[in-house]
């Protein structure tokens, strides 16, 4: 009886002390900031980075095991979902009509290419990185890739799939691994432009000079996942042009300041653009070009022409 009481009293005392310790840990973690702030990580971030390195093989194995399960689930889902098939058929019709235009425009394009050359950002890529596993909790959308500081990767560098489709941004980079905060993460934000299909080629990333000119006639804003949960562009002026089907590309600069992404990275297409007189900005919902479940190999852009200029 006495032993039980003593255990309960010491348990309560320990509970109080450890509560304070937990709160102190939380405060230290938030105060030490992320690893990019001062070039080196605080102790608690270092612990998490070390654990990520140690767990990398296990996460790789689990990722490989889950991959066929996910593919099967996707196939089953697609088999019952006709909307995807209808969307693809509509896309095929559009593509066929575009193909007819393409041949006519090809010659004109070649003539203009020389003029546009100066507008295209030249990216310097890091080594090809394999996606190891998703990480994070219910509030975040992140993945781990198998390149780190030893491969020249630093925090806050843009990550792309293919040549120029933006996937996210590096964060918590350790020696051999890096986390990628995906564009659909609630913490992610980037300056973007909304470009009509005729002014941007998603395959090459070439943006028309009209879009990159100082007095931009097209919509500009901040790409982020809103508090309501939709992925879209905020702060787009009501008078700016933004229509369904337009492309969303990174702007690279905002009010004379360098942003973390170079200009011309393809983000996705405008799914809907609505505006009400009572609101100050347009509500623009974006359909992202990348699908987190399909990511296998990505590249980190470690530098680009005009960075910091």
């Amino acid at each position: 009886m006495g032993r039980r009481k003593s255990s309960a009293a010491s348990g309560f005392a320990a509970l109080c002390v450890l509560c304070v310790v937990s709160l102190a840990l939380f405060t230290v973690y938030v105060k030490e900031g992320d690893c990019s702030a001062q070039g080196e990580c605080g102790p608690l971030h270092t612990v998490q980075l070390g654990a990520a390195e140690v767990l990398q093989p296990a996460r790789g194995v689990v990722g490989a095991l889950f991959s066929p399960i996910r593919e099967t689930a996707d196939r089953v889902g697609n088999a019952f979902d006709n909307s995807e098939e209808e969307r693809l058929r509509a896309e095929l019709r559009d593509t066929e009509s575009l193909a007819a235009q393409t041949s006519r425009l090809q010659q004109e394009n070649e003539r203009l290419r020389g003029l546009l050359e100066g507008q295209r950002a030249v990216y310097e890529y890091g080594p090809l990185a394999r996606v190891v596993a998703p990480v994070g909790d219910q509030f975040s959308e992140r993945i781990i890739i198998n390149v780190g500081t030893e491969d020249g990767i630093e925090d806050d560098q843009p990550v792309v799939v293919g040549e120029n489709t933006l996937v996210g941004r590096t964060t918590n980079v350790s020696r051999h691994t890096a986390q990628v905060m995906l564009i659909t993460d609630r913490m992610f934000a980037a300056g973007v432009r909304i470009v009509p299909p005729a002014e941007f080629d998603p395959a090459s990333g070439e943006v028309s000079p009209a879009v990159t000119a100082e007095n931009v006639p097209f919509g500009q804003g901040m790409l982020k996942t809103s508090l309501e949960g939709y992925f879209g562009v905020d702060y787009v002026d009501l008078s700016a042009r933004a229509e369904e089907g337009d492309y969303v590309v990174t702007s690279g600069r905002a009010a004379g300041r360098d942003l973390l992404e170079p200009p011309g990275l393809y983000v996705g297409t405008v799914e809907s653009a609505t505006s009400q007189d009572i609101e100050q900005f347009k509500k623009i919902v974006v359909d992202p070009a990348m699908n987190p479940d399909d990511l296998e190999d990505v590249r980190v852009i470690v530098g680009w022409a005009g960075k910091g200029a």
């Binding site: 309960a8 348990g11 310790v21 937990s22 938030v30 689990v62 909790d137 509030f139 609630r186 508090l227």
Partner: protein, 172 residues
Amino acid sequence: MVEQPSVVRASIIVAAAALLEAVLGPYLTFGYVSPKFALIGIVFAVSPLRDLQAVLLGFFGGILLDSLSSGLFGVGALAGLAAGALSGRVSAVRRKGTERVLLSQVVAVCVAAFGLLGWTARNLAGYGGPPLAEYAVAGILPDALLNAVLAYLVGGWLLRIVSVKSRVWESA
């Protein structure tokens, strides 16, 4: 022969559960809902232990979860602590045969507390989060229910693992 709780086994269960959540959790996350293996492990593993042991092991499990995951450090520790303390207290009032049901309810409460703590911590840290009402209905509630069901399914097995049989003179 009497059944005695083993601290070593309980520690291993807690560590394995935290590891499992860190590795498997991201694959099993559907919206705001995901299995909280670490909390389930803590609640069932520490329930037969004494209060002090339960609190310490809960804190250890939470810290381990914080280290292995990429979440905000301290949130898991607080949730683990709450799970350890609640589970330890509940074990003092439970009746034989109702452990699983009672501890599943504790898991539900702890998961809800973890969700609320996480939401509060994100807002305090300036990371923002979904509106509380939306998160409570679409996140906390189904998450707590799912994990309570999961806890009920695996709880009996966990309780058996944590106990070792010893002779009466050994336990005296």
